[in-house]
Symmetry: C2
Subunit: 488 residues, 2 copies
C-alpha cells in the first residue's frame, strides 16, 4: 500500500471511531438505564484512549513525510487528497504537541471539575467550585502553551481547537463593537418586543415538532427525534441523524430547539459524500456549526412568515394560536440572567461576558476567586441586570467545570455568521417570505449545501464565510436582524 | 507496570470494546434508522479489526512469557489471576493461529453468504445459495484445521469456539441417544399434549410481559425491554441489560421469548463483580448461556404453577384465560418444519438434524449440493414430517449462510443442561411449585448465581456442570422433563 492509502485507511478508522463515540454518547443521554453509567464511563474512556493512540501514532508521521518527499519529487495527488494530507498533518502535529501526562491530567480534571460544578451549582456554593476552576484554568493555560503555533497567544491556541484561524484580537474587536451596539438596544427592545408566554400543551408541541420537521425532510428512514434533558444532535452516519428536544407545558422552546438541532444535523448530512470517512467529512468549526443551527432557529423558526407554518402545525396538534401572536412569543426580548433561555437579541451579550471573563482568567488578569464579582459587573454593564445568585450567575454553565475555554465565542459567532449567510442567501435567491409562508425550504437547503455544507473541513471558518458571502466576518447583518426588535 | 498489570489493562480494554460492539449491534437492530446501515457496517468493521489487532498483538505473548518465567521463578499470583492468565493464553494462541488473510476471507464470506441466503430463502431457491454454502464450508474447514489442537478433529475445533472442551464423539453419543428416545415420543405427545392457540391481544401480552419481568426484578434503572424483529439480549454493562421481544396478535410467543432472553441477561448480571473488565467476566459458553435462557423458558415460563402468574398478568392487561388452558398452550406439541417456533419436545430433534448434517458437510461426507435431500430425509426420520419447501427446510436458518458451523449443538445442549440444573436446584431447594405459583423466584436466582453465574469463564462447560449438579452431561433429566407431554 502507498503512504496515501495507509493514511486514508487510518483516517477512515478514526472517522468510524468518532461515529461510534457519537453513538455511545447519544445512547448514554437518551437510552441508557441509569445503572449503566459506571460501565459507560469505562467504555468512553477506552474509546478516547484508543482514538488518541491511533491519531497520534508515529506511523502517521512516517506516511506524511513520505507524502512530502513524493510531492517534492513531483508526484501528483488531486486537490481533495491534498486537503486530506494538509489537515492530517495539522491535526497530527497539534495532537502530538500534548504530552501524555498532560492529556491524562486534562481528562481527569475535566471529569472531576464537572462533578464539582454540579454539586456547587446545586448548593449555590462558588467556594466549593473554586479549586476545580483554578485547576482547570491552570491546565488550560498549560495546554494552550503546548499547542500554540508561532506568534499565537495562549488563548489563540485554545480557540483553535474550536475555530481554527480565529484570533483573540479579532474577537476583542468584533465583540467590543457588538456589545457597544447591542447593549443600548436592550431597554428599547424590552418595551418594543416584550417577552410573552404561550401555554401550548406538550401534546400539541409534540405534534407540531413532528409535523414541522417532516416538512423539512425529517423521516424515519434517516432520522430519529427523541427527548433528552438538554437538546442535542448526534450524527452517527450520513443516513443516521439523531436530534433531541425537550417539552414543558408552559414553554414553546421545543419549536425553536428542534429547528436549532435540525440545523446541526443538516450540516453533517449535506457534506460532500466524497469526503465521507476521511478527516474532512464533518463540519469545519464550532462557529460554522452553530451558524447552521442559529440559521434555522433565528432566520427560519423566528421568521414572521414561518410562524404561519408553526401555527398550522400547532393547530393540527389541537392548539389554536394566531401566527402573529406565536411569532411575538418566539422573538420577545427580556434581559434575564440565564443564557440558554435568552432571546435572540440579548443572547450574544451573555457570550461577550463569558469571552471577556475567560480571556481574563487565562491571561491571569482575573484571579479565579474574583469571578463572581466580575460576573455581576459584566451582567450589569452588558444587560443591565442584577444577578440573584451564583447558581444563576457564573455557575450556570458546565463549560469551565469541564475545562472548556475558548468554546463560548462560537455561540455568538454562530449568531453573527447565520445572519451574514442569511443575507447572502436572500440576496441570491430573493426574499424567502413567500416560500417560508408555504413551508418550502428546498432552496435554502440547496444554497447551504452548495455554499457551506459540502465543503466539510476543506475550508476553515473565515475562508468559508468569505467565499459564501463575499465579506469578512462582520456584525452588521446581525444588527439588521435584531434591529426591528428594538424598533430600529 | 508489571506484565500482569499490562495484561489486565489490555483485557479491560478488550472487555470495553466488546461492550461497545454489543451496544452498537443492539442499536442497529432496535434503534437505528434504516439509512444508517452502510455507515454502521463500516463502524462494526472498524471495531472488529481493532479488536482483532489488540487481541492478537505480539506484546500479549511477551507479557504471558514474562508471567510464565515469573511462575517458574516462584512468583505467586492469586487463583483469580491464574485463571486470567490461563484464559488469556488460550484465547491469544487460538486467535494467533488464524492467518490474517483467512480471517478477512471468513468475514467477507460471512457477509456475502448472509446476503445470498436472504435472497435464496426469499425465492425458495437453494441453487442460488449453493455457491455461498460451498464456500463457507470450505472456509470453515480451513479455519478448523488452523485452530485445531493436538488430536482434535476439524469439527472438534469448530465446536471449541462456542463450547470449549466438548468433543464431536461425545455429541454423537448424546444426540444419538436423545434422538432415539425423543423421536418415538413425538406421535404420542401430539395426541396427549396437542398444540393449541391462544389469541391474546398484543396490548395484553405487552402488559403481561412488563408485569412478569417486573416480578423477576426487571426495572428501569438497570434494564431496557424493547421490540425487535428477532428477540435477543445485549449486556452493555453490569447495570445495563437490554432484552427484546416481539408481539403478534395470534401468538403468545412473547411470554416465552421474554423469559428466555431474561435468562441470558440474568447470567451476565450475576457474574462475580471481581471478574468485571477481565477476560473472565462473561458467560462461559454458548451451551451454558442457552441453558440459562432455556431454564427460564422451559422450567419457569412453562411450569404449570407459573401459568397462574402469567394468567394473572394477562388478566391485569385485560385478557382472561384459565391458567391450565394457558399452560396447555405453552407446552402443546406438534412436529412442524420450523425450529424457532418448535415446542419443547421436538425442539432438540431439529438441532440433532442440523448437527448430523453440518458434521457430514464439514467431514466431506455430504456434498453441499445434496443438502436439501438429506434435510428432507432427516426431518422424515426424526420428526416424521414432509418438508414443504427449502425455504421452510434447509434455508430456514441464517447460521450456515453466516459461516457458523459448530454453533447449532448449543441449542440442544442448552435444553439438556437446563433440565439437569433444574433437577439439581429442586433437589437442593425442594420443589418450586409453591414459590412459582406466588411468582417468587429469588431462591432460583440465588442458586443460579452461586452455582453457575458467578464463575463467569473460570469454569468451562463440563466442569461447571459437574460441579453444579454432581453429574456428567446427561439426557435423562430432559427426558423426565418432556416425558409427561407424551404421557410417560
Amino acid at each position: 500500500m502507498t503512504a496515501l492509502e495507509q493514511l486514508r485507511g487510518r483516517l477512515a478508522e478514526l472517522a468510524d471511531l468518532a461515529s461510534i463515540e457519537m453513538l455511545t454518547s447519544w445512547d448514554q443521554l437518551v437510552m441508557m438505564p441509569a445503572d449503566g453509567a459506571e460501565a459507560r464511563a469505562h467504555q468512553l474512556g477506552a474509546l478516547a484512549r484508543l482514538t488518541h493512540e491511533r491519531a497520534t501514532a508515529p506511523e502517521i508521521g512516517t506516511w506524511l513525510d513520505e507524502l512530502d518527499a513524493g510531492a517534492r519529487a513531483g508526484e501528483r495527488i488531486d486537490a481533495l487528497e491534498q486537503d486530506v494530507v494538509r489537515l492530517a498533518r495539522r491535526d497530527w502535529e497539534r495532537a502530538r504537541r500534548v504530552p501524555e501526562e498532560l492529556a491524562a491530567e486534562l481528562a481527569q480534571a475535566s471529569a472531576a471539575g464537572q462533578e464539582s460544578w454540579r454539586v456547587a451549582r446545586e448548593h449555590d456554593d462558588f467556594a466549593a467550585f473554586l479549586p476545580a476552576l483554578t485547576r482547570n484554568v491552570e491546565l488550560a493555560r498549560a495546554y494552550g502553551e503546548c499547542v500554540a503555533e508561532d506568534g499565537q497567544s495562549t488563548y489563540d491556541a485554545l480557540l483553535a481547537d474550536y475555530d481554527y484561524g480565529l484570533s483573540t484580537a479579532e474577537l476583542r474587536r468584533l465583540f467590543g463593537a457588538l456589545a457597544g451596539a447591542l447593549a443600548p438596544m436592550v431597554e428599547d427592545a424590552r418595551a418594543h418586543s416584550p417577552r410573552r408566554s404561550i401555554h401550548a400543551p406538550v401534546a400539541a408541541q409534540h405534534a407540531a415538532v413532528a409535523g414541522t420537521l417532516a416538512r423539512l425532510g425529517v423521516n424515519a428512514r434517516g432520522w430519529r427525534v427523541d427527548v433528552s434533558a438538554h437538546p442535542f444532535t448526534a450524527w452517527v452516519g450520513r443516513g443516521d441523524s439523531r436530534l433531541t428536544t425537550r417539552y414543558s407545558d408552559g414553554e414553546i422552546e421545543s419549536l425553536l430547539s428542534s429547528l436549532h438541532e435540525y440545523g446541526h444535523a443538516l450540516y453533517e448530512r449535506q457534506v460532500d459524500p466524497a469526503l465521507e470517512r476521511t478527516n474532512l467529512g464533518g463540519g469545519t468549526s464550532m462557529s460554522i456549526h452553530e451558524s447552521q443551527s442559529k440559521l434555522w432557529e433565528n432566520h427560519v423558526a423566528r421568521h414572521p412568515a414561518f410562524a404561519e407554518v408553526l401555527a398550522a402545525e400547532l393547530a393540527a396538534g389541537g392548539f389554536a394560536v394566531a401566527p402573529t401572536e406565536l411569532h411575538a412569543a418566539l422573538v420577545g426580548v427580556e434581559a434575564t440572567p440565564v443564557r440558554v433561555s435568552a432571546d435572540p437579541l440579548t443572547y450574544p451579550l451573555h457570550i461577550v461576558a463569558r469571552f471577556e471573563l475567560e480571556l481574563a482568567m487565562i491571561e491571569g488578569e482575573l484571579p479565579t476567586s474574583e469571578l463572581p464579582g466580575a460576573w455581576r459587573e459584566a451582567m450589569r454593564r452588558l444587560l443591565g441586570i442584577e444577578v440573584p445568585s451564583d447558581a444563576l450567575g457564573c455557575l450556570q454553565d458546565v463549560h469551565w467545570g469541564a475545562g472548556s475555554f475558548g468554546y463560548f465565542p462560537s455561540y455568538a459567532l454562530g449568531c453573527l455568521i447565520a445572519a451574514q449567510l442569511w443575507e447572502a442567501l436572500e440576496a441570491q435567491l430573493g426574499p424567502r417570505d413567500q416560500a417560508l409562508r408555504n413551508g418550502e425550504v428546498g432552496a435554502i437547503q440547496e444554497w447551504l449545501a452548495e455554499h457551506v455544507h459540502r465543503h466539510g473541513r476543506r475550508l476553515d471558518t473565515i475562508p468559508l464565510l468569505e467565499r459564501a458571502t463575499g465579506h469578512a466576518l462582520e456584525i452588521d447583518p446581525f444588527l439588521r436582524y435584531v434591529g426591528p426588535l428594538a424598533g430600529r
